[in-house]
């Protein structure tokens, strides 16, 4: 290496050792577990993998997970965009408090989040009697699973959009307003093109967490096999039955989803970093 940067960089040996240490740590903590999912899933051959996936309970779990994500992701997307619009395009009292409030679900233990809904909608909960009277089931049913998924994924879209829209300011929207554009057109034609990659980034993270949520959903789902077991819950059930091959087969689908998420995320960070919030996730 040249003498010029000798003072501000390490020698070749130190550098190589540090890189190797970092790679070893990542391999030990992240890569080996990831590899083991696929290794265990295919340990008994492709036929066993396929049999585990087309099992009726597994298929029901896959369907439930997709349904729950299809309901909860759009809700948090629309509400997250609305929150970001109110916070970045307007001034009002208590804005900082509102921003902190949006952050709260990140610090709540998923199990505690699930329990809170049980206290509201469970048979002994606040609305328990009323719900039983009207024959509405929320806890131990699909609506409860959706609610639990909604709270754990609540911050992602808003948290990505707020710093981004704050940095972009209000000038473009105000210019469109003076040209007489109505509000929804300002949003669709001016704001949305500016935030679309950031929005996609937030939706991507929301979806990954929605399909993978375990603790909160576990508490509220009631574990009715073939009915209220999502894919992560199905993984637990199979694992606890010592049906490891099937557990890892279903798990490998979720790991595949995680890899796709990481790939798209890396692509967005690489290609559209100017349209993402500066802070890492």
């Amino acid at each position: 290496m040249s003498a010029k940067n000798k003072a501000t960089s390490e020698g070749l040996v130190t550098r190589t050792l540090l890189i190797l240490a970092a790679v070893a740590y990542i391999a030990l903590i992240l890569l080996l577990p990831l590899a083991s999912v696929f290794s265990e899933a295919f340990a008994h051959g492709l036929a066993a993998f396929k049999a585990a996936i087309v099992d009726p309970d597994a298929l029901a779990a896959i369907k439930l997970t997709l349904t729950v994500a299809a309901i909860s992701v759009p809700i948090n997307m629309v509400c997250g965009v609305a929150a970001a619009w109110a916070i970045t395009k307007h001034d009002f009292r208590g804005k900082d408090f509102l921003i902190s409030l949006i952050d709260v679900p990140f610090s709540i233990s998923p199990v505690v989040a699930g329990l809170m809904y049980l206290l509201l909608f469970g048979a002994q909960g606040w609305f328990g009697d009323w719900l039983t009277e009207h024959n509405i089931q929320i806890a131990f049913a699909k609506p409860g699973i959706v609610l639990a998924t909604l709270i754990v994924t609540l911050p992602f879209v808003a948290r990505e959009l707020i710093p981004l829209m704050q940095a972009q300011g209000r000038e473009e929207e105000e210019a469109a307003l003076t040209l007489g554009a109505p509000g929804w057109r300002i949003f669709l034609w001016v704001t949305l093109p500016n935030i679309r990659w950031g929005l996609l980034y937030g939706v991507l993270l929301t979806n990954a967490r929605a399909m993978g949520e375990f603790g909160a959903v576990s508490v509220i789902s009631g574990h009715i096999r073939g009915e209220t077991d999502t894919m992560p819950l199905q993984v637990e059930v199979l694992y606890n039955e010592y049906n490891f091959a099937a557990a890892f087969s279903v798990a490998s689908l979720l790991a595949g989803l995680a890899l796709v998420t990481l790939a798209v995320k890396s692509f967005l960070e690489w290609r559209h970093s100017d349209q993402l919030a500066a802070s890492g996730h």
Binding site: A22, P110, L115, A208, F214, A251, L262, H281
Partner: protein, 286 residues
């Protein structure tokens, strides 16, 4: 002049109202959203706690078994965050400062704990670190048990916490530039001295924030831990698991009391982290 500029002070109260439309609609949606999903459930939890009465609450929240579970959840989260403070800094350093083949892949992998469902992480870590696994087997030859004990809990929380440290330190390290290091070098300082005396003080606030975020996440973590922990009461039972156990026994009161302790400590941690970040931000801009 001072009296004129006073109403325009930073409270923003004198600021002209934003001409853009949609405030009542979007704010209405936001408040409804947060009320239904967050505030109402929080109130339900606290009210349930209050109705237990102080004696019953303390008995349930601070039983010997509950205290043992807090010690494990907080202790293991602390240990894992400490491990990640060291190795997360190393990973961030290598990613920012060096160019090598596979760097982008390594960087993408760091986010795996954010993307991989916790239950999948849990069974995968158990497969690797149990005494039949790729790492657990060689370790057991040395008499080391890495799963079904508190060590397993620390391993799971290390997995979960890594990206928090790396992603908090990375941008600060990138912005740091090499200017001050060059200055230190011209003054005759060696690499280690420069790192310890020049670089470390600059990135320390980010490192502390990353450490705190990893710790906070670890305290409440459930899915990745329960498979590898062994789940023995008083030994390897984390606090979130004790809540689930209480619920399975239909002991809603006991579950609520423990959940309230856990929730209040995470909210306190969140406030502390926010206050610390705010202070650092002001210090930097000052």
């Amino acid at each position: 002049m001072a009296t004129v500029s006073l109403p325009l002070s930073r409270t923003g109260r004198g600021r002209r109202k934003s001409p853009l439309p949609g405030l009542s609609l979007t704010l209405g949606i936001t408040i409804t959203w947060l009320t239904i999903l967050l505030l109402l459930p929080l109130v339900a939890l606290f009210l349930k706690s209050v109705t237990l009465g102080p004696t019953h609450f303390v008995d349930a929240a601070f039983s010997r078994r509950a205290i043992a579970s807090y010690e494990l959840s907080f202790g293991a989260a602390l240990a894992a965050a400490a491990v990640n403070a060291v190795f997360g800094l190393l990973v961030a350093w290598v990613l920012v400062r060096y160019r090598f083949p596979g760097r982008r892949l390594l960087s993408a992998l760091v986010d795996l704990p954010f993307a991989l469902p916790t239950a999948v992480a849990g069974i995968a870590l158990t497969a690797v670190y149990a005494n039949t696994g790729w790492v657990g087997k060689p370790a057991s030859a040395f008499g080391l048990a890495l799963a079904y004990n508190p060590v397993g809990v620390v391993i799971a929380l290390t997995f979960i916490g890594l990206p928090f440290v790396v992603r908090t330190v990375e941008p600060v390290l990138t912005d740091l530039g090499k200017g001050i290091e060059e200055a230190a070098a011209t003054l005759g300082a060696g690499r280690w001295t420069i790192f310890r005396r020049v670089v470390l003080p600059e990135i320390l606030p980010a490192l502390i924030t990353g450490f705190a975020l990893a710790f906070a996440r670890g305290v409440g973590e459930y899915g990745s831990v329960i498979f590898i922990a062994g789940n023995m009461p008083f030994k390897s039972e984390i606090a979130p698991l004790l809540i689930v156990t209480k619920l399975e026994e239909y002991d809603y009161a006991g579950a609520t009391a423990i959940a309230t302790v856990l929730l209040l400590s995470s909210l306190a941690l969140l406030l502390l982290i926010n206050a610390y970040q705010g202070r650092e931000l002001r210090r930097r801009s000052a």
